[in-house]
Symmetry: none
Subunit: 530 residues, 2 copies
C-alpha cells in the first residue's frame, strides 16, 4: 500500500456526474476510472451503490473488469436513517457489500439542514454517524466522511459543526472532509475555518470545494495550506451548477508550484491526454482554455514577442508545457513575423531556418491572406497545405472545376421545408467527374457531392467525418455583403484537423475549407499523388 498521508481523491464518477447534461453509462464509468488510475489518483469514488442501479452494476463489474494500478475504489452513501440500527439499514448494507475497500459517508453538519431537511435532532444525527461508521469499521472498511454544507454550517453554529467532526473521528473515520457544498466560500474563509477546525478537533481533514465563486481550486489549496491532507476533485472540474475543484488544476498547482509528490512518478505528463480522453467519453468538447491542459493554455499570439520567445521560452510561460503533456503553440496572427512562421513551420515538421527567401515569401503570402480575412490561428491544416505549396510540393488529389448549389423553400411562411442540392465538377486522377447530392443545407449538400465524386477513387473518404463547422462574419457593419470566415474541422478517428475558407459568399468560403479539409485528410491517409 503506497503512502497516502497526503492524497488526491477523485469524485468525477459521483459528484462530477451531477453536471447538467452529463449521463454516464457503466461502460463510460469503467473507462473513466481506468484513465483516472493511469493518471495516478489515490482514490476513485465510483458512485452510490444501492441508491442507483447503474452504480451497483459499476461496482460489480469493476471488481473483475478493472485492474487498478494506483487507485482504490470508494463507494459513496449516506449514514443510516434516523431511528434504525446501521446493521439493519439496507442502504448501509449495500455500501458494505459493494466490494469497495473504502466507503465515503455523507453526513449533515449544518444544524439547519439536520432539522429542516433531515427532520431529526442534532443528537440523533451524531448517533447516526457514530453507528454507521462503527458498523463499517467492524466489517473492515476504511471510512471517509463528507460533512455536507460544512462551511455554511460552521458560520451559523460552529459548535455543532465541530461536534460532527469530533463524532466522526472518534468513531474511527480516517479523514473528515469539510465540504463547501453551496460553493460560496472564498480562500481566506477556508484557511481560517479549516485551521480552527483542525485545532478544535484534532481530526485529519479533507476538502471538497464547489466552484460557485470561481475559487474552487484556490479554496482547495487554501485548505491544504491550513492542514488538509485529502483533496477531492473532478476531472475537468465537472460537477453540479458551476462545477467542482478541477483535478488537473489542483494537481498542477500542488505538483508544479508547491513541489508535492501528489502523483506517482511519470503520471503528470499524462495530464493533457487524460483530460481530453475524459471529455471525449463524457461527450463535452474539451475546454480549449482550461489551465495546463487546454489547447490554448500555452498558445502565444506571436508577433510582438516571437523573437524573444525563441531565445528564452521560459520567460513567457509559467511552467514547461511538456511536464503536463501539452505543447507551446505559436498562433499565426495579424502581426505574423518571420520568427513566428519559422517556429510554426518547425512545429509542423518543416525546417525553414536555412531559407530566408522562402520564409520572406511565406510571410508575405500569409499577411496577404490575413488581410483578406484568413486566420491560420486555428487552421493548422490550411497552413500546412500553404507551406507545402510554397515548398513546391502542393497537395493535389483533385482539381475543382466548378460548383453550384440550389437551395429553396416552397410553401408558406412557417410551413414547408428548405432543401439544398449541390453539383460539383472535378478532375480526379485525370478523369472529369460530375456529381450531385442533396443535403439539409448548402454546405451539407456540397460535402456529400464532393464525397460522391471521389469516394470510388479514394475509399478512405468514407472514414473522414466533418466534426465541427464555425462561421464568423468579419466587419459586422457591412451587412450581408461582409466577408465570411469558415472553419471546418474533420476527424478520422485518430485525430482532427481544421481548415479555413474566406469569401463574400458563405457557400464559397465553406467550399474552400471543405475542399482543403478533404485534401488534408487524404494526405494523412497516405494516398500517393499523381
Amino acid at each position: 500500500m503506497p503512502d497516502d498521508s497526503f492524497h488526491v481523491f477523485d469524485t468525477t464518477l459521483r459528484d462530477g456526474a451531477q453536471r447538467e447534461g452529463v449521463n454516464l453509462t457503466v461502460a463510460d464509468k469503467l473507462a473513466i476510472a481506468s484513465l483516472l488510475d493511469e493518471f495516478g489518483v489515490r482514490f476513485i469514488e465510483g458512485g452510490w451503490p444501492g441508491a442507483n442501479p447503474k452504480d451497483t452494476e459499476f461496482f460489480q463489474r469493476a471488481s473483475h473488469e478493472l485492474d487498478l494500478e494506483h487507485a482504490q475504489l470508494c463507494a459513496f452513501g449516506a449514514t443510516r436513517r434516523a431511528g434504525v440500527q446501521a446493521a439493519d439499514d439496507p442502504q448501509v448494507a449495500a455500501l458494505r457489500d459493494s466490494g469497495a475497500p473504502v466507503v465515503t459517508l455523507v453526513a449533515k453538519s449544518d444544524i439547519r439542514h439536520v432539522e429542516r431537511a433531515l427532520r431529526t435532532t442534532g443528537e440523533e444525527n451524531l448517533a447516526m454517524i457514530a453507528d454507521t461508521v462503527g458498523h463499517l469499521r467492524e466489517h473492515g472498511r476504511r471510512v471517509f466522511l463528507d460533512c455536507e454544507h460544512f462551511f455554511d454550517g460552521y458560520l451559523y453554529d460552529p459548535d455543532y459543526a465541530v461536534s460532527v467532526v469530533r463524532a466522526a473521528a472518534e468513531a474511527g473515520v480516517d479523514v473528515v472532509v469539510l465540504c463547501d457544498t453551496n460553493g460560496g466560500m472564498l480562500p481566506a474563509d477556508i484557511t481560517r475555518i479549516v485551521g480552527e477546525v483542525a485545532a478544535a478537533s484534532g481530526a485529519r481533514l479533507g476538502i471538497h470545494a464547489q466552484d460557485d465563486t470561481g475559487c474552487a481550486v484556490a479554496n482547495t489549496l487554501a485548505a491544504v495550506e491550513a492542514g488538509a491532507t485529502h483533496v477531492q476533485c473532478t476531472a475537468n472540474g465537472y460537477g453540479e451548477r458551476v462545477g467542482n475543484a478541477n483535478l488537473f488544476s489542483v494537481v498542477g498547482a500542488l505538483a508544479l508550484k508547491q513541489g508535492r509528490d501528489v502523483l506517482p512518478e511519470g503520471c503528470l505528463a499524462r495530464m493533457t491526454r487524460v483530460s481530453q480522453a475524459v471529455a471525449e467519453i463524457v461527450n463535452i468538447s474539451p475546454s480549449t482554455h482550461q489551465p495546463y491542459v487546454g489547447i490554448s493554455a500555452f498558445a502565444h499570439k506571436a508577433g510582438l514577442h516571437a523573437s524573444a520567445i525563441k531565445v528564452d521560452p521560459d520567460l513567457y510561460q509559467h511552467t514547461d508545457p511538456a511536464l503536463v503533456g501539452n505543447d507551446m503553440r505559436m498562433l499565426v496572427s495579424d502581426m505574423a513575423g518571420r520568427a513566428s512562421i519559422e517556429l510554426k513551420a518547425r512545429e509542423l515538421g518543416f525546417d525553414l531556418s536555412g531559407d530566408r527567401e522562402l520564409l520572406g515569401r511565406l510571410v508575405d503570402r500569409i499577411k496577404e491572406l490575413e488581410q483578406s480575412g484568413y486566420s491560420f490561428e486555428a487552421a493548422d491544416a490550411s497552413l500546412e497545405l500553404l507551406l507545402r505549396e510554397e515548398l513546391d510540393s502542393p497537395v493535389r488529389y483533385f482539381e475543382a472545376e466548378s460548383w453550384r448549389v440550389i437551395s429553396e423553400r416552397r410553401g408558406g411562411d412557417r410551413a414547408g421545408e428548405a432543401v439544398s442540392e449541390a453539383t460539383v465538377k472535378l478532375q480526379v486522377k485525370g478523369e472529369r467527374v460530375i456529381a450531385t447530392a442533396e443535403g439539409n443545407g448548402p454546405v451539407n449538400a456540397l460535402d456529400r457531392a464532393l464525397r460522391s465524386a471521389m469516394e470510388g477513387v479514394y475509399t478512405a473518404l468514407a472514414g473522414l467525418e466533418l466534426t465541427d463547422y464555425k462561421v464568423r462574419i468579419l466587419e459586422g457593419n457591412s451587412g450581408t455583403g461582409a466577408v465570411t470566415r469558415i472553419l471546418v474541422t474533420f476527424g478520422d478517428g485518430r485525430g482532427e484537423w481544421t481548415t479555413v475558407g474566406v469569401g463574400e459568399n458563405v457557400i464559397d468560403a465553406s467550399w474552400i475549407a471543405l475542399k482543403d479539409a478533404m485534401s488534408y485528410g487524404l494526405l494523412r491517409q497516405g494516398y500517393p499523388q499523381d
Copy 2:
C-alpha cells in the same frame, strides 16, 4: 467625478481581445464598451491607439459615438523607446492625442525582460518610465502603469521590481498595477508579495491576474486583501492563453461576499445580461457553467432536494440569483419563466400582468422555440413580433410563398468568382409578386430580391439598412447538419433592431430573420396593415 478610491478597471477590449480566435471590429468594440459602462465599471481600456489602426479608429469614433455614464476610457500603450525623448516618440504622441483622459502604460519590471526582450539597461528602463509618465502628466493625463511580469520579476530580483514601482509613483502615476503576466502565481504568493511591495514603495497598487493556474479570481481577491485598490478584469475572463480574471466573478465576490460598493446602485443585477450580450458580440457561446452568470450557475437537479429547496432556497444556494440577474432553475429545460416574460413584455410596451392564460401560452411558445435553437436574448424585434401574434395583432405586410437561391462558382481552384441569384415569390397587398436579384452571397441576394419585390409598395424599404449579420452554429459536434442560428440587425437611421432565425439550412435561417427584420422595419415606419 465619482469616488474611485477602489475601482474596477476593465480590459476586455485590449487584453481580452488577445483570446485565441477573437477578432473584434470597431463596431463590436463600441458595443461592448457601451455594455461595460451600463454594468458600471469605472475604467474601460479601449486598445492601443497608434499601434493598431482599428484601435486608433475606436478612440476617434468613441469620442462622438459613445455616451458613457459611469466609465472613463483608457488608452493603452508602452513607455517611450530607449534613447529618445518621450515628447519625440510617435507612439507616446498617439496615446496623448487619442482623446482618452486616462493612459495605461505598460513597462517591464522583470530585469531579465528588460535586458533580454527590451535589450536595454535597468536604468534606462526607469528613465523611460519617468520620462513618459512625466510627459503625459504635463499634458493633463491621468496615468496608470502596468508592471509586466511583475511577480516573476519580483521573485527573481525584488529590488529591481520595487525600484520600478517607486519610479512610477514618483513620476506621478496614480496606480501601479502589478501584473501576473504569465499567470503562474497562487493566492498565498500574491498576498505576501503585494503586502511587501506596498510596504516598500508606499505606492497605490492594482492587480492584473492571468488565469493559468485557475486562480485569477482568487489572486485578484488576494491582492485586494493585501491592499490593492484597482482590479483589472475582462468580461467572461476572455484573454490570452487560459484568460484573465473574470470581471463578473471578481465583482460578484467583492460585492456579494465582501460587501464592497464596487458598482453604482442597480448595476449588479445587469450582470447576467451583460455577460451574455458580450459573448454574443464576441461570437463565443456563453459559458453555461460560469460563476454567477452561467445558465447552470443556479441550476439544481430537481428530485433529491426539490421540496427542501422550495421551502428554504437559501439553504441550497450561495447567493440570491436575482441579485445578479440570474434565476434558480429546477428543470433542465425551464429557461423562460413567467416573471421574466412579463417583465420583458412590459419593457416592449405590453402589459400582460392581467392575463395569466396569455402569459402561460407565451411562455410555452417561447420554451418550444428556445428548445429548437431560438434565443430572444438579443432579438427584441422577433420577440415583439411574437408577442403581437399571440395578442392577435400579427404583423403581416407580406406573405412569403417561396424562395430559391442558386449559388455557383465557375473556373478553377483559386480563380473564378462565386455568384448568387435569389428568386422570391410573395403576396404583397393582395398581389402576387415574383422578383429575382443577384448578390455577392446567398443572403445578400435574398435581401435584394425581397426589397425589389416590395419597394414599389413600401418605398421606405430603401432607407432600411442591414447593419449586422451574425451566425452561430449550435451543437458544434454534428458538423454541417447542425442547427444554425442567425441574428440580423437592421437600422433606419433612427435606431436599430435585431431579429433571429433558426434552421438546419443557413439560408433558410437567414431568410426567417431577414423577413422579420423587414416586417419590423415597416412597422416602425408606421405603414398601415391590410
